[in-house]
């Protein structure tokens, strides 16, 4: 028995370069004031900024060179997403990357060659996986009939309002399939969600009666595996983002603890605040370790057991620590922490969104128990 198992952790020169560029970009382009400017806009992000990100090649980092990407894999996206999380920069990058992975991992070569190049150029894609709020369900209640007409709906589809294409999981005669829908086909079918994390956007989509073009149906053995892999990649990318956000939240807490005085002393000298802040630091560092360990294990092939373990641990740890950090950030700011003006609200809100995304900590630990103990 070897419960701790694989502990590989490598960091490539490409990852290092991407990290440097992404950190600088996010620092320059996404100060907290810019983040706040987007909280109440329709799309939640600045379109010009998104085009700049595409120009840097970020949409194509994980896609093969044959479709215009840089062929570095999902692991190389991790430092970029972490940097974005640290700057609270919300854009459709994660959703676009994941939708693209679904197509890449299960589509025919024709579908890959037709659907992916526009995404490298700044096109937006998203994925519709959930029939309801249960991340533990298979997400196949949407039905594709013999006549290629859909019946059913999906919930919580991120960036649905701006996506050029939506990739939805469905079943056809009991088999998992993916359907790719263009924005025009979904006009008038979106019901926007009001999300707790105002840096993001999502909507429920009613697909009933939508006709899917034959060329936009992805079927075959690879679909089920692609769905599983992409859920794990999603867990990892959200974990990477959450790790960055937890570090930003920690910085916010530390800054206040170093400046606010009560009883004639800086409040950071009180151990009731100091020690939990250290717990946030060490918990965030653990999340980072899991995230980069998982990034090390991701390849082009289907995720193996070690990679699955790593992604699940990353998500379990990162969402737990961001929740703790956001929660303490509010408390440690006192009355100020209860205001909309205080940045603590950004983190506690993101924490609660992150918690559920791609399965909460309990969801992943339950699966880890089966992977490790049975």
């Amino acid at each position: 028995m070897n419960l701790v198992g694989n502990t590989d952790l490598a960091f490539s020169e490409e990852q290092a370069m991407l990290m440097d560029v992404a950190r600088e970009f996010c620092r320059d382009k996404s100060p907290i004031a810019a983040v706040r400017d987007q909280l109440e806009t329709d799309t939640g992000f600045d379109a010009a900024l998104w085009q700049e990100m595409a120009g840097l090649g970020w949409s194509g980092i994980a896609l093969p060179e044959s479709v215009g990407g840089s062929g570095l894999g999902v692991g190389a996206l991790v430092p970029v997403v972490e940097a974005m999380g640290r700057a609270m920069l919300g854009t459709p990058l994660i959703n676009t990357a994941l939708a693209a992975q679904l197509i890449l991992r299960s589509g025919s070569s024709g579908q890959v060659e037709r659907l992916l190049p526009p995404l490298v150029e700044g096109g937006i894609a998203t994925l519709a996986l959930l029939d309801n709020g249960d991340w533990g369900a298979d997400g196949l209640a949407l039905r594709l009939g013999e006549d290629a007409v859909l019946t059913g709906s999906k919930r919580f589809v991120g960036d649905a309002g701006v996506a050029d294409i939506v990739v939805a999981s469905a079943s056809r005669g009991g088999d998992a399939v993916l359907v790719v829908l263009e924005a025009e086909q979904l006009a008038g079918r979106l019901r926007p969600n009001t999300l707790i994390d105002q840096t993001r956007r999502a909507a429920d989509i009613d697909f009933t009666g939508v006709q899917v073009e034959a060329a936009n149906i992805i079927a075959g053995d690879r679909v089920a595996a692609a769905l599983r892999d992409v859920r794990l990649c999603g867990a990892l990318l959200v974990a990477a983002e959450a790790t960055g956000s937890a570090a930003a939240c920690l910085d916010t807490i530390v800054e206040y603890l170093k400046t606010r005085k009560q009883f004639g002393k800086l409040i950071g000298s009180y151990q009731a605040l100091k020690h939990p802040t250290v717990d946030i630091l060490t918990g965030m560092e653990d999340a980072r370790s899991f995230v980069y360990h998982a990034a090390t294990l991701l390849g082009e092939d289907n995720l193996d057991r070690d990679a699955e373990v790593a992604c699940r641990m990353a998500k379990a740890q990162a969402s737990a620590i961001l929740s703790y950090a956001g929660d303490r950030a509010v408390q440690f700011h006192g009355g100020m922490g209860f205001t909309y003006e205080c940045d603590a609200q950004l983190y506690i809100r993101r924490a609660q969104w992150t918690q559920q995304a791609f399965g909460d900590a309990q969801h992943h630990r339950k699966r880890l128990a089966a992977l490790l103990l049975d």
């Binding site: 419960l3 952790l9 630990r365």
Partner: protein, 400 residues
């Protein structure tokens, strides 16, 4: 020139073969799980003989200079030797205060004379070392230590009391923190650091019985004890900074240790394997969903610790909170160990109430004893609360 992969692989197989051939048989009495539990002569002699053997075979102090009894090779060899010791589950190299703290200190800042006098005896286990830092009234507040050292000709005269002196009753030398100047403006500046002999008149040790019922540390009394003046390390008044440097080795934040195992290996795996046959609600305990969740969390904690050590070497992944990983290592590792051992007992059901001495106790009461002993690391070497203060102040820059 650094060693090739092939050389390292060959070395590994040599060590492995040696460990397999030389691993001592069960002595038939309880062996210490850490160096802080050496309670009687039998245990002492057993461990002394083992350490001597490991050193004689060339598997201890490999990176220390050759002229002082070391191997004079790259540290990677010692790392491999340590891994093999762990894999073969051999006994500890118990002279840890020498091997891990005093030795590296002497190597790094000692004089030529100090190096030739002390280093070899540390490696061979001929000279056991102890640490005289804590006092009854000054533990965490070590900077306030009051044991006096007064210069008298070419001697210092010691008066006062130390406590919790691990292996004090077996040691030949002590790293001693004592006050040479009670008038110094800052309490820290009045302290000096000594490499002090224990076998002089006026030094007396009295063993203290521990939470486990065993022995391992002592009270240490100094009554007009005279030691040669050249026992002073560095200059008078440098005691605090030298003591702090010592603690860096002790907490694993600074390299230089001679190697060898400092404690018996206990992993989350051992815990899970130890639950063989335990039932809960009439079914194997590993089927209980709440237990499973607790075990997964323990596995994650242990894995995170291993990963964080790996990550320490990657500059890009450690640049934003410099020192966070090494400075929090002792805190995380010791607290995890404590939590895990407590969990191991709690999962035993009724048998969790048994202790060493009851022959129906699971694994002879190993986990119960191990749980109690885990506090040696959450208290000794600076308590977890003090470690948290250090991380907060030195990594996050929070005020004192």
């Amino acid at each position: 020139m650094s060693a090739t992969e092939a050389e390292l692989a060959e070395f590994r197989s040599d060590v492995s073969a040696w460990m397999a051939d030389n691993k001592p048989a069960d002595p038939g009495f309880l062996l210490p799980q850490t160096f802080m539990e050496v309670g009687d002569e039998r245990q002492l002699e057993f461990l002394r003989e083992w350490q001597h053997k490991v050193w004689s075979a060339g598997y201890l102090g490999m990176a220390w200079p050759k002229e002082y009894g070391g191997g004079g090779v790259e540290p990677v060899f010692q790392n491999i030797a340590d891994q093999e010791m762990r894999r073969h589950d051999v006994p500890i190299c118990f002279n840890v205060i020498g091997l891990g703290w005093a030795g590296p200190l002497i190597n790094d800042i000692g004089t030529e004379q100090e190096k030739s006098k002390y280093l070899k005896g540390i490696l061979s286990a001929e000279d056991i070392w102890c640490q005289g830092f804590s006092e009854p009234e000054h533990g965490s507040d070590l900077g306030n230590a009051q044991t006096r050292a007064v210069r008298d000709g070419d001697e210092y005269v010691l008066n006062g009391q130390k406590i919790w002196t691990t292996m004090g009753n077996f040691a030949k030398y002590m790293i001693l923190l004592a006050r040479t100047n009670p008038e110094a403006q800052r309490k820290y500046d009045g302290l000096s650091f000594f490499l002090s002999p224990m076998d002089v008149p006026g030094v007396e040790t009295r063993p203290i019985r521990k939470i486990t019922g065993e022995y391992g540390f002592t009270e240490t009394f100094f009554t007009d004890a005279r030691i040669p003046a050249d026992c002073l390390m560095g200059e008078e008044g440098q005691g605090w900074s030298i003591a702090m440097q010592t603690l860096q080795y002790e907490r694993g934040a600074e390299a230089g240790a001679a190697g060898g195992l400092a404690m018996v290996r206990v992993t989350v795996e051992d815990m899970v394997e130890g639950l063989e046959g335990v039932e809960r609600d009439g079914a194997p305990v590993l089927e209980d969903p709440l237990v499973r969740d607790q075990l997964v969390q323990a596995i994650m904690d242990e894995k995170a610790l291993v990963l964080s050590v790996r990550r320490t070497g990657i500059a890009h992944l450690t640049s934003d909170y410099p020192g966070a990983l090494p400075l929090s290592n002792k805190l995380r590792a010791s607290e995890l160990t404590r939590r895990m051992r407590q969990l191991a007992i709690n999962l035993q059901g009724g048998e969790g109430a048994l202790y060493v001495g009851d022959d129906t106790a699971r694994q002879g009461g190993f986990w119960q004893r191990a749980y109690f002993n885990s506090f040696s690391a959450t208290i000794g070497g600076g308590t977890s609360q003090i470690q948290a203060n250090i991380v907060a102040e030195h990594v996050l820059g929070l005020p004192k």
